[in-house]
Symmetry: C2
Subunit: 87 residues, 2 copies
């Protein structure tokens, strides 16, 4: 599965969440990550995120695509992580 993950996390927790996600996905730009994960890996990442965030204040959206080829990605302006644009 190809994952696009965006988050809106309170300042007190965002650094830890970002550090955690860098271990599992590609940092794309502020609060945006992408990457290929299996269902089991995604389940692990979600439980890791649950432990680091407060569901009453923080918001995480996980877009799951069966295949990255079903998506076209276009960057306007600065590409903050060009390495990931090898789709």
């Amino acid at each position: 599965m190809y994952i696009i993950l965006v988050y809106d996390i309170q300042v007190a927790r965002v650094a830890k969440v970002c550090k955690y996600l860098r271990q599992h996905l590609n940092w794309i730009q502020n609060s945006v990550f992408e990457g290929q994960l299996t269902k089991a890996q995604l389940a692990r990442v979600k439980s890791g995120l649950a432990a680091l965030t407060n569901p009453e204040y923080d918001s995480i959206i996980i877009y799951q695509l069966r295949d990255a080829r079903w998506m076209n990605k276009e960057v306007m302006g600065v590409d903050k992580n060009p390495a990931t644009n090898l789709l």
Copy 2:
């Protein structure tokens, strides 16, 4: 086409960009928009964004899916715009 748009815009320009995008897409959470656009509509939105942003500092990523059904969307924590979760 179903669009997921994320941006990382400098403070001086972000309010105008957000206001502009609210006219064309659904606000999902900070710096994240979604919505259905035709190719012509997307072209118009992109030229509007080009006029409002500075490509040397600002970054916009546009994910295009032929159909929203090819994507599964999951929200952890606060759903900042529940109205859009009717996929």
